[in-house]
Symmetry: C2
Subunit: 144 residues, 2 copies
């Protein structure tokens, strides 16, 4: 096995290990907002509102899945729907004030957890790791 094969193998194993754990870790840390809900809410916040269809496309989720996730977030009072006056089929989704607040809390706590995990990393390593991940995910997106 070449060095190259060994690296690829490691990357595969480690990415897989990470993926397996991510949900459970997130759930333990933030029982009030699952990883999926968090991601969707964060996207709404980031985009200053968007449609359910956009969320589905962006996250490769079925529209029914998004519909239910949003319904749950609405029930919690974290998201509100604004019917587009120009097209009554469309609902533009926005975080509520409360939703934005919860999101901010979870984001802060996630960020802190990541900072802790990465505390003893040097600047240069962090920077490189970040760019590798971006590159890797971009490639995955392209190849499916």
């Amino acid at each position: 096995m070449t060095q190259r094969d060994a690296s690829v193998e490691t990357i595969q194993q480690e990415m897989t290990a990470f993926a397996r754990r991510a949900r459970a870790t997130a759930a333990r840390m933030h029982p009030e907002l699952s990883l999926v809900s968090y991601t969707l809410l964060a996207h709404l916040d980031d985009q200053q509102g968007c449609r359910a269809t956009d969320l589905a496309a962006h996250y490769y989720l079925d529209k029914s899945t998004v519909s239910r996730q949003i319904a749950a977030l609405e029930k919690l009072g974290f998201v509100e729907r604004r019917i587009d006056p120009d097209d009554h089929r469309v609902q533009v989704l926005h975080p509520t004030a409360e939703g934005a607040q919860v999101l901010a809390n979870v984001t802060a706590s996630r960020r802190q957890a990541f900072h802790e995990r990465l505390a003893d990393w040097g600047e240069e390593d962090l920077d490189r790791f970040a760019s590798y991940l971006v590159r890797y995910n971009a490639a995955q997106e392209k190849l499916g």
Copy 2:
């Protein structure tokens, strides 16, 4: 925001994005063996057999979850149980010949997918990426 903060932010986002997609991607690529089953079966293969409890501990899964996953793998004919003659509570789990074969196929195809995704990476970048992932996951393990 410092450079350091920005890097941490990116790492967080990209790891999260990856985690969200991993299961679905795995399911699309390998309908015959889910990500979880694959992982468990691979561990059995790797360890030359182990107990259900060991799998649960290693993957932070409840023993009931492992029990059901193994039951499913057994039903598919991919795993067999051998009662430990010294302790009749214990079942040592092993991949069957067929299980090992399926595992080998999936592993090969996963490996190829990873190789494709990483095809245009240089040796040195691959190596560094791999070691960053190891380091990151090790830190996560330590801190919970």
